[in-house]
């Protein structure tokens, strides 16, 4: 049964343009030799930003070393002293040290300088919004619950469950070491080679590149890890054993 299209493919392409910036609309971490960089997105409520930040800190914490320096890219967020202090206290709970703040807003720059962070102020016109097209894998250790959307331009590794109502959208592969029950979109930038792997596959919807599939109406779940891949523009599912045999 290798490569049998178990799912019912749907004709319509996914509602998201393939080339969109995956990181838009979420708090975004990226790392380089200087440590971690935290990007605050525009066009969200501060409450939402805060929520997304805490979730990311909690679920990514196991994957960085103690006392990592952090640069905050706050763009045009107007952050006052108490907000910056709260933010600094929050990240320090997760072994991150706020060191630098980038901003286009004068009052944020003043607040950051007052607190003793090194400040990089750019004028709104010359500020090049950092486009985090980071293709290093994103490692998460958490439950992705209903209402949470994870977006990343590289592959996503999740240790935990993806609950119904939760979403993972990745430029690369999606690995779920747990139960996959929500919506996943692998190869969201158009990569047709992207894979979805799960210990237990019971999705709400599967998307690879610009193909969409939904699970069959009924049927019991095999108790074995499965791989979802794209073959001739059809989304197929195989058990891990069958998939590996096919690869060889």
């Amino acid at each position: 049964m290798t490569g049998s299209p178990v799912l019912n493919p749907q004709g319509s392409p996914p509602p998201t343009p393939a080339s969109r910036n995956l990181a838009a609309g979420t708090v975004y971490f990226r790392s380089d030799s200087q440590g971690l960089h935290l990007h605050l997105p525009a066009g969200m409520d501060w409450d939402e930003v805060w929520e997304s930040l805490i979730w990311q800190l909690r679920s990514r914490k196991p994957f960085w070393a103690g006392a990592t320096p952090l640069t905050l890219w706050s763009q045009d967020w107007e952050l006052d002293l108490p907000t910056l202090q709260t933010l600094s206290a929050l990240v320090s709970q997760y072994q991150l040290q706020l060191r630098r703040v980038q901003t286009t807003i004068r009052s944020t720059a003043i607040a950051a300088a007052t607190l003793g962070y090194s400040v990089e102020q750019s004028s709104p016109l010359e500020a090049i919004p950092p486009v985090p097209t980071d293709t290093t894998p994103l490692y998460l250790r958490s439950t992705v619950r209903s209402g949470t959307a994870v977006r990343h331009s590289g592959s996503v590794f999740l240790l935990g469950d993806l609950n119904p109502g939760g979403e993972i959208i990745a430029g690369g592969d999606i690995w779920v070491w747990g139960r996959l029950r929500g919506v996943v979109h692998a190869g969201a930038n158009g990569d047709e080679k992207a894979l979805i792997l799960a210990l237990q596959l019971d999705p709400t919807q599967l998307r690879i590149a610009d193909q969409v599939a939904r699970p069959p109406e009924a049927g019991s779940l095999p108790n074995t890890p499965e791989v979802v891949y794209l073959q001739d523009n059809v989304i197929c599912i195989a058990t891990i054993q069958d998939f590996l045999r096919r690869e060889v």
Partner: protein, 268 residues
């Protein structure tokens, strides 16, 4: 140190207010001083369920506005001496209060009570943010329905983000006969998705509607029905007692039904 517990759900109509009123009463009858806070500004009904509507003079809004003292707004329940209610205002909308004001109010209440139970409005709007502002624990109430569980899952995520721990689960309005016939999600199904510790299972009970309309909490009745017994067990679990969960299948069964089931099992 008192315990401030927010009672919440994603979906409306799962029985949050009923559970809050009864749990508050049950805890008060265990000898704790309890205040139940209606955080559902604009749509108050906790006072109705407790039968205290006609005794509400001031509400939390007047306290926040400085028009009365906190003690004046607290409505004492005559039947349950340790229980009081802080009512919400019906005439104003949900944005009339800010989270900081709510936090201040809850802090004052927690200094003089063992338990502060906050009845949170359904949904995740401003009212939800107000209600969780001063809380340090949460109880999620859900019915075993897909939509309710999905919304509860979202709320668990929000509570995690607000760093409120622990979050416990009450599965309300369970119908054991429907679970047995696979027509309803089982408690295990719900717990599997939400992945938070279970603190109680409350069976569906006609008596709940009767008691709601009378304004008399179920746990006060001399011959407490099954739902009331379940709520009393939840109160004891919150108090730190280890109370066994009764076999779900036997909830709501009469003696004869239970005997019949037992015999059937033996035959097979």
């Amino acid at each position: 140190m008192s315990r401030v517990i927010v009672m919440t759900s994603g979906k409306g109509g799962v029985g949050k207010t009923t559970v809050t009123a009864n749990l508050g009463t049950a805890l008060a009858r265990l000898g704790r001083s309890v205040v139940v806070v209606d955080a559902d500004f604009g749509l108050r009904n906790l006072d109705l369920l407790l039968g205290l509507e006609n005794r509400v003079v001031y509400t939390a809004l007047e306290v926040i506005a400085g028009e009365c003292r906190l003690e004046q707004a607290l409505v004492k329940d005559k039947r349950t001496p340790n229980l009081s209610l802080l009512p919400a205002a019906q005439s104003r909308n949900k944005t009339a209060v800010k989270p900081e004001q709510m936090r201040e109010l809850i802090d004052k209440l927690s200094s003089s009570h063992d338990y502060v139970l906050i009845d949170c409005p359904a949904g995740i709007e401003q009212g939800f943010r107000n209600a969780i502002a001063g809380a340090n624990e949460a109880i999620i109430v859900t019915t075993p329905e897909l939509a309710a569980v999905r919304d509860a899952d979202r709320v668990v995520g929000l509570l995690e983000a607000a760093q409120i721990r622990p979050t416990r689960l009450i599965v309300n309005r369970l119908r054991p006969d429907m679970v047995a016939a696979s027509q309803m999600m089982s408690v295990e199904d719900v717990v599997e998705v939400l992945a938070i510790p279970l603190v109680g299972i409350v069976p569906e009970d006609r008596e709940v509607i009767v008691s709601t309309n009378k304004g008399e909490p179920l746990v006060l009745s001399s011959n407490p029905p099954l739902a009331a017994q379940a709520l009393q067990r939840i109160a004891r679990r919150l108090e730190g007692e280890t109370v066994d969960f009764p076999d779900v299948a036997s909830l709501g069964e009469s003696f004869w039904e239970r005997a019949k089931r037992f015999l059937n099992q033996r035959v097979i």
